[in-house]
C-alpha cells in the first residue's frame, strides 16, 4: 500500500479510505463510527463525509437532489471544466444524474439482463477450469493473482471486445483510477490520458471492424435520434472496464479468503452445492467490495452536519451490510441466510448495471474452485494483502491445497 497520506489517528474526524488499517480490516472502524457518529468527517481530499448506517447510506443513495454522481471516485481531483458536465459526467451513466441518467441507463440495461449474461457462463466456466488446470501439481499458489484476478479481466475483455492479450494493461489502468487516488491531481491526469488513448484505439478498431460486442453496440447506439459523442462512448467503455474487473476480482478473492479460513463452511458448501445461491449473496453481503461516492450538490444540513456544495461523500455499502439494525449477527457469515436485503450492488437508480454478470462470475468461480479443490487453507495468513480505496478485496492470497485435488 502506498503511503502518500499520513496515518489516520482519529477515524471520526480524519478518516482516509486508502489508509492501510482501513484496507486490512475496515469493519471495526465502521462499527466504532456507528456508535460514535454515525456521520464521520475528514478534511482529506478537500473535505469528505462518511455515513456508516444502513439507514443513512440508503437515504443518500436515494437522494439525487442534494447529491450528484458527477464524480464517484474520491480523489484529490474533483471534476473540472474540461470534464463532461453534469448531468452526463465523466463516465456515463454512473456519473450521470437524472433525468439524463435514466435515458442512457435504459440503453445499456438489456445487455446486462440474465439472458445475455447466462450466454457468457460456458465461456466463464471453461476459463475457470483452464486457470485451475494451470495450477496442476502445485501445493500452494496465489489464489488472487493466479485465479480470481484473471476471471473478470477475460470476461470483460470478451464483453467489450478488447484483445485478450491486452489484459495485462487493464490492471494498470484500474490501479490508476481506483487505487492511486491520493496522487496529486496533475499526476492523475497524465495517467488518465494513457487510458483515454487506449480506448480511442479500441473505438477506432471497432469503427473499422464492427462486431457483436458492447463497444460496437455503443458506437451504433442512439439517444433521441443522435449518436453518442466520442467522449461519451469512451467514458462508458472506461466505466465498464473499471467497474467490471476489480469489483468481481475482490468478491471472488474475499469469498475464497473466507472459505480458506472456515473449514466448516468450506465443507458444507462443497457437500451441499444447492446452498450456492444464498452463499453467493451472503459473501456479497459480508465482503461487499464497493464503496461508492457522491459530491454534495448544494449546501444543506444533513442530520445536523453542515454539508457544503462540492464536499465528497463516501457511500459505504459494505458498512450498510454490516449494520446490526438491519442484519442479525452481521459479522457472522451464514451460508443459508434466508433474509438478506444486502446493498452490495448499491441501492436506487444507480444499482450496479453488471450485478448479474458479477454474480454469475462469482458463482461459477466458486463452483469450479470447490469442484477441484474442496479443501484448502491460507498458507501464510500474514502475507494476505488487501486493496484499499473504494474497491476492497484481497490482492495477495497465498493458499495451500489440502489433500490434493478432487478425484
Amino acid at each position: 500500500m502506498t503511503n502518500r497520506h499520513p496515518p489516520v489517528e482519529n477515524w471520526a474526524t480524519d478518516f482516509d479510505h486508502v489508509d492501510p488499517v482501513w484496507a486490512a480490516d475496515p469493519y471495526p472502524i465502521w462499527e466504532e463510527l456507528r456508535q460514535r457518529c454515525p456521520v464521520a468527517h475528514s478534511d482529506r481530499y478537500g473535505g469528505t463525509w462518511l455515513p456508516v448506517t444502513h439507514e443513512l447510506v440508503s437515504e443518500v443513495a436515494y437522494d439525487t437532489e442534494h447529491f450528484t454522481s458527477r464524480s464517484i471516485v474520491v480523489s484529490e481531483r474533483r471534476p473540472g471544466p474540461e470534464d463532461l458536465p453534469a448531468p452526463i459526467g465523466v463516465s456515463p451513466p454512473i456519473s450521470s444524474d437524472p433525468p439524463y441518467h435514466g435515458l442512457i441507463r435504459r440503453m445499456l440495461l438489456p445487455a446486462f439482463t440474465p439472458k445475455p449474461v447466462d450466454a457468457l457462463e460456458p465461456f466463464t466456466r471453461q476459463l475457470c477450469r483452464d486457470l485451475l488446470a494451470e495450477t496442476e501439481g502445485k501445493t500452494s499458489f496465489d489464489a488472487a493473482t493466479e485465479y480470481a484476478g484473471h476471471i473478470p479481466v477475460q470476461v470483460i475483455a470478451r464483453f467489450l471486445g478488447f484483445p485478450e492479450t491486452d489484459a495485462h494493461l487493464f490492471r494498470g489502468f484500474i490501479r490508476t483510477v481506483l487505487e492511486e487516488v491520493d496522487r496529486p491531481a496533475e499526476e492523475r491526469e497524465a495517467m488518465f490520458e494513457e487510458l483515454d488513448g487506449y480506448m480511442d484505439v479500441q473505438i477506432a478498431d471497432h469503427r473499422a471492424h464492427p462486431r457483436d460486442d458492447l463497444t460496437s453496440f455503443l458506437i451504433d447506439a442512439e439517444i433521441a435520434g443522435s449518436k453518442l459523442s466520442e467522449e461519451h462512448i469512451r467514458g462508458t467503455m472506461t466505466l465498464l472496464m473499471i467497474a467490471g474487473i476489480d469489483t468481481t476480482w475482490s468478491a471472488i478473492g474475499a469469498s475464497l479468503w473466507h472459505l480458506a479460513r472456515h473449514p466448516a463452511d468450506r465443507r458444507r458448501l462443497a457437500a451441499e452445492p444447492e446452498l450456492m445461491t444464498t452463499a453467493v449473496e451472503e459473501f456479497l453481503r459480508a465482503y461487499a467490495p464497493v464503496t461508492m461516492a457522491r459530491l454534495v450538490a448544494k449546501d444543506f444540513d444533513f442530520h445536523g452536519h453542515p454539508f457544503k456544495e462540492g464536499d465528497w461523500l463516501l457511500l459505504p455499502f459494505p458498512a450498510a451490510n454490516r449494520d446490526p439494525a438491519v442484519f442479525e449477527n452481521p459479522g457472522q457469515v451464514q451460508l443459508d441466510r434466508a433474509k438478506n436485503r444486502h446493498a452490495a450492488f448499491g441501492l436506487g437508480r444507480h444499482r450496479c448495471l453488471g450485478s448479474n454478470l458479477a454474480r454469475m462470475e462469482l458463482r461459477v468461480a466458486l463452483e469450479e474452485w470447490l469442484a477441484r479443490y474442496p479443501d484448502f487453507e491460507l498458507s501464510d495468513p500474514a502475507a494476505v494483502t488487501w486493496a484499499g480505496g473504494q474497491v476492497r478485496g484481497p490482492r495477495t492470497l497465498p493458499v495451500s491445497i489440502l489433500g490434493g485435488p478432487a478425484a
Binding site: R106, L109, P110, F112, T113, P114, T277, E281, A338, K339, N340, R341, H342, A343, F345, L347, G348, R349, R351, S355, N356
Partner: protein, 72 residues
C-alpha cells in the same frame, strides 16, 4: 392448515432490477427487456409457492415487493 391466499406485487417505482426475486422464484416473477421485475399474471401466489414469495420480499434490496392476503 389454513387456506390463506396471497397476492404478490412489485412496485415499479421502486424496482431497480436487482433480479433477486427472479432468482428466488422465476415462477412468480417476470423480467422485462430492461431486467425490471413484475409479478407473473395477476400475482396470485399458488399455495406451494408462498414460501418463495416471502423469500422474495425478504431479499429485495429496494423493498419493492409486497405480499398481501387476498380475502375470500
Amino acid at each position: 392448515m389454513t387456506s390463506q391466499t396471497f397476492r404478490v406485487h412489485v412496485d415499479p417505482e421502486k424496482c431497480q432490477g436487482h433480479n433477486r426475486c427472479y432468482s428466488v422464484s422465476p415462477d412468480l416473477f417476470d423480467l422485462d427487456d430492461l431486467g425490471m421485475s413484475s409479478a407473473v399474471g395477476d400475482g396470485l401466489v399458488p399455495a406451494k409457492l408462498t414460501g418463495q414469495a416471502r423469500l422474495a420480499v425478504d431479499n429485495c434490496p429496494e423493498q419493492a415487493i409486497s405480499l398481501t392476503e387476498v380475502k375470500p
